[in-house]
Amino acid sequence: MPMSCVTENYDICVVGAGHAGCEAALACARLGLETIVFTVSVESIALMPCNPNIGGSSKGHLVREVDALGGQMGINIDRTFIQSKMLNVSKGPAVHSLRAQADKSEYSREMRRTLEQTEGLTIRQAEVTELITEDGAVKGVKTFSGAMYYSKAVVLCTGTYLKSRCLYGDVVHYTGPNGLQPANRLSESLRAHGIELFRFKTGTPARIDSRSVDFSKMQEQKGDSTVVPFSFTTNPEDVQIAQASCWLTYTNEDTHEIIRENLNRSPLYSGMIEGTGPRYCPSIEDKVVRFADKERHQVFIEPEGLSTNEMYVGGMSSSLPEDVQYRMYRTVAGLEHVKIVRNAYAIEYDCINPRQLYPSLEFKAVKGLFSGGQFNGSSGYEEAAAQGLVAGINAAMYLKGKEPLVLDRSTSYIGVLIDDLVTKENREPYRMMTSRAEYRLLLRQDNADLRLSKIGYEVGLIPQERYQWVLEKERLIEKEVDRVQHVKIGANALVQKLLEEHGSTPLKTGASLAELIRRPELSYGILAEIDKDRPDLPDEVAEQVNINIKYDGYIKRQLKQVKDFKKLESKNLPEQFDYSQVNGLRIEAQQKLNLYQPVNVGQASRISGVSPADISVLLVYLEQMYRKKQG
């Protein structure tokens, strides 16, 4: 080591400035801690190396929740989107989900600007190569140049950069995504600290030149006429902009034939790729093999930004050789003469087995070491941002000596995401899905502010004024829900006419307004004209009233389930506990519990291999310990 190396001191080091790293760094700095964020390239801050969207089914929920907790992703996409859609509007409110097309370079630049303007936040371009620890606690990081950055906590958000390599055909680039510099040395340091690593893979389709695309052979996909912003702080008027279009086309038998003929040249099928890929975003070759009976697959051509000709070929990620890529893309209607700007490729990288983390995202083995994002075995920008925010908040809480923020499954998709990561066996990059949230009727994107603002406020990321409005909104909703249940509607001519207009059965006798709202063809809004005493309420309040009344029965049932769920969740288990000393636990349960070290009995009950009888034994054991302590 050189005698005079750079040495600096910070409160917190954040390694990586992708979607997780940005949220983590912003949260720490905003909570008043001196924070430094490392990136291999300042140009790649908040880079979107794969699809050009933020949100989508269940991912839109995550963005809303990040926003309600005081994160940045929602605000950033509201400022840089070029098209927006609310998905599943014909379905129930629980599965409505926002998805926006981002102007990628604007998204990245805007986030970088936010980081640069945040007080107490330092951006540093450098490859972190080593973790510095002392007595099982983190003390900082060391970079490739030998510089030492001492800190009390470290948040690892290395994304797909650890020992990454990109592949197509028999071509291998030892780079991170997009040809960026990988981080080849940190993995060894992590292993030396006893951290178990997985090898995962994912992939991305080609980017093409829009001038080479014949859009007349495709269907135009426009954005919503009225755009709903992601962030609860964005003024809806500010997002009513001119939107760009996406385009829909299809693969065909010719495409599939070319793929089938060249499967042996794919690194996936030749065994060159060792990493575990996600089943939910299969490469086009995967789709053709696994769904052989499908005659065609959808392909979405999406702009990467307003200031570029590059377009993303959604639905056709691949690791086939370059020549095959050309041939297969050119079979698709509208892409007959397509020019590829960047090849499709698969990327392999190191990430951790996330069961090594507490639900606070702190490592069980190293105090003060936190992590978030793809490094934790997830996939997706939104999943990354959500974890980055929680890891950042908890690094700050750790420094302040406060209780960590742990969101349980009944509070949020973020809670479900983290609980799944740290509790369940995870053998592929984890993607959020609405079906993973068992209480999804309560965890809607429309009520993320009502669910989480209080927590964001207590953490210190939501300002007083914003929190006050949420409290006021809550009050207004409650009052109006109560009123609506007591308003009696008579079977008069005006009412019957309105019902008839909406194809609803006329009333025989009077009914409460709530009963009418519950009819599928009616809503709170539709009934305004026969509800004379209705107060003037903001749209967001009216929306909540409608949902709360309309789905009342289902919501009540889920609330009851949550109550049962909370019982086991509130029974804490000791840290670093040796379960083999609990007589009566089956061997498999002892081993699993020792491995996972769950924080409470609820989490223990979700570990595979732990039976209900084991949970009973655990409860009895806890009671036994408690009474012994009481003496």
Binding site: N51, S57, S58, L87, N88, S90, K91, G92, A94, V95, R279, Y280, C281, P282, K287, R290, F291, K294, H297, Q298, F300, G314, G315, S317, K424, M433, T434, S435, R436, E438, R440, L441, P520, E521, Y551, Y554, Q558, K567, N583, G584, S608, S611, P612, A613, S616, V617, L619, V620, Y621, E623, Q624, R627, K628
Partner: protein, 463 residues
């Protein structure tokens, strides 16, 4: 902490004159109010003083299940420290099971293995020094329950339940894929199709519940062996019990050379009836094997039906068979009462008297159908009074499984309701998942990973 209300049979069911069903938890009194009817008047037991005894009936709606004594025990001076009801009823598996089922139908749930003891401990009723034994109770009962639940489930029934569950998971996976990837998978007009599937699966579950009521979900019943000399009418009895021409009946002695088995249901009691080869001293090798097997079955039987041809004389073969009945639960049947009586009831009774046996004797004529009702009643009586015993845990398992099937059926009717009410598709999956979870409780599978696997393997998601 407020807990839900559990119910279980507290006594070992076999060979006891009295059975006790215990209900514990916040709703214990409201459950007993719904199922108890006093001899006179209409007093509500929830209003009764603590630690009092009440005479009356347990009723399922209008139907009287049993005549009982009910103990009302108010929290905290009870075993579990919760409100507790104890129902003292007639002993015998059937009555106790029916009372338990009635309690479950009206709001209790079947207790988990060792759950009463667990609650007693967690609520501070059991001393710390006994914690280890509490854990032992939980484990012992759980092992027993686990062992009996899957093992007892008939192969075909398990397959049926897994089949239904698989179809439900497929439907959920379809809905969820469409919700997760609305641009790739369309769900238009799906409600009607789902309605058909759900109706079909509901019918299948209803059939399983009916079977459960007849006890035939379970492999085991009362092992009943029909025994006697050749050509006394054993196979005819078998056919009569089974209600079909199962055994080959001829006039030629020694027709049944092997063993025939049949599951027979007598008003809710399952008999595994085994028709044996007639026992006689024989030189026919094949027939001899049958005879040996008959003797083996006889030694393992819960109930023996010994058939005597009353129209021929009681010989050495009969003497030998009679001696095999010593210490067994048996009924002696004097068949062919329609013919001239050579071997009379008095004669057989005298023979049994020499061997100090007191088995009941019935003259019957299978040919004329005389005495068969009396036989059925006699078997029921024996069972009803707990005199025939077998692995009782099976019945408890059956109650749990039936209760799970019932809940699954309710969940499916909620799905139908959601479709009829015109709810959006994502609401369907809430109760479809509920139904799957209930069925998974029987087969020991959980929904989470199964669903994710189904989504990825059956539906092509884009990106």
């Amino acid at each position: 902490m407020k807990t839900d209300t559990i119910a279980a049979i507290a006594t070992a069911m076999a060979n006891s004159g009295i059975g006790i069903i215990r209900i514990s938890g916040g709703e214990a009194f409201s459950v007993i109010d719904k199922i108890y009817r006093p001899k006179k008047g209409n007093k509500k037991l929830s209003q009764a003083e603590s630690h009092t005894v009440h005479y009356g009936y347990i009723c399922d709606g209008e139907k009287v299940v049993d005549e009982v004594m009910v103990l009302i025990l108010k929290s905290p001076n009870t075993y579990t420290r919760e409100d507790t009801v104890e129902i003292d009823c007639h002993g015998g598996t059937l009555v106790q099971t029916r009372i338990l089922e009635t309690a479950i139908k009206y709001g209790a749930r079947p207790a988990e293995p060792g759950e009463f003891t667990k609650r007693a401990f967690l609520n501070g009723r059991i001393d710390l020094s006994q914690a280890e034994s509490v854990i032992e109770v939980i484990n012992a009962q759980n092992d027993f329950a686990l062992e009996s639940s899957l093992r007892q489930l008939q192969g075909t029934v398990k397959e049926k339940i897994q089949g239904i569950r698989g179809k439900l998971i497929h439907e959920i996976a379809f809905i969820e894929s469409a919700l997760d990837d609305p641009e790739h998978i369309s769900i238009e007009g799906y409600g009607e199709r789902l309605m058909e599937t759900v109706s079909e699966l509901s019918t299948q579950i209803s059939e399983l519940i009916l079977n459960a009521e007849n006890g035939s979900l379970l492999k085991e019943g009362i092992n009943t062996v029909i025994i006697g000399k050749p050509n006394v009418g054993k196979s005819s009895l078998m056919n009569m019990l089974a209600g079909e021409e199962r055994a080959i009946v001829t006039d030629i002695a020694g027709t049944t050379r092997d063993i025939l088995k049949e599951q027979v249901n007598l008003n809710g009691i399952t008999l595994n009836v085994i028709d044996t080869a007639g026992i006689r001293d024989t030189r026919d090798v094949v027939e001899q094997i049958g005879v040996d097997r008959a003797k083996t079955y006889l030694s393992q039987a819960d109930l023996v039906l010994y058939m005597v041809d009353s129209s021929v004389s009681f010989d050495v073969n009969d003497e030998e068979i009679l001696s095999l009945l010593s210490g067994k639960k048996a009924i002696v049947l004097l068949n062919k009462s329609d013919l001239d009586q050579v071997t009379t009831e008095e004669l057989v009774r005298a023979k049994m008297g020499q061997k100090q046996m007191g088995h009941p004797i019935f003259p019957i004529s299978i040919k004329d159908g005389k005495g068969t009702k009396e036989l059925e009643r006699a078997i029921q009586e024996l069972f009803f009074h707990g005199e025939i015993s077998f692995n009782n845990e099976i019945y408890i398992t059956n109650v749990r499984q039936k209760s799970a099937l019932q809940s699954a059926l309710e969940s499916l009717s909620m799905v139908k309701q959601s479709i009829e009410d015109g709810m959006p598709e994502d609401f369907y999956s809430i109760d479809l998942v509920g139904a799957c979870e209930e069925l998974g409780n029987i087969t020991g599978e959980s929904v989470g990973e199964d669903l994710v696997n189904e989504i990825f393997s059956k539906f092509c998601m884009g990106k």
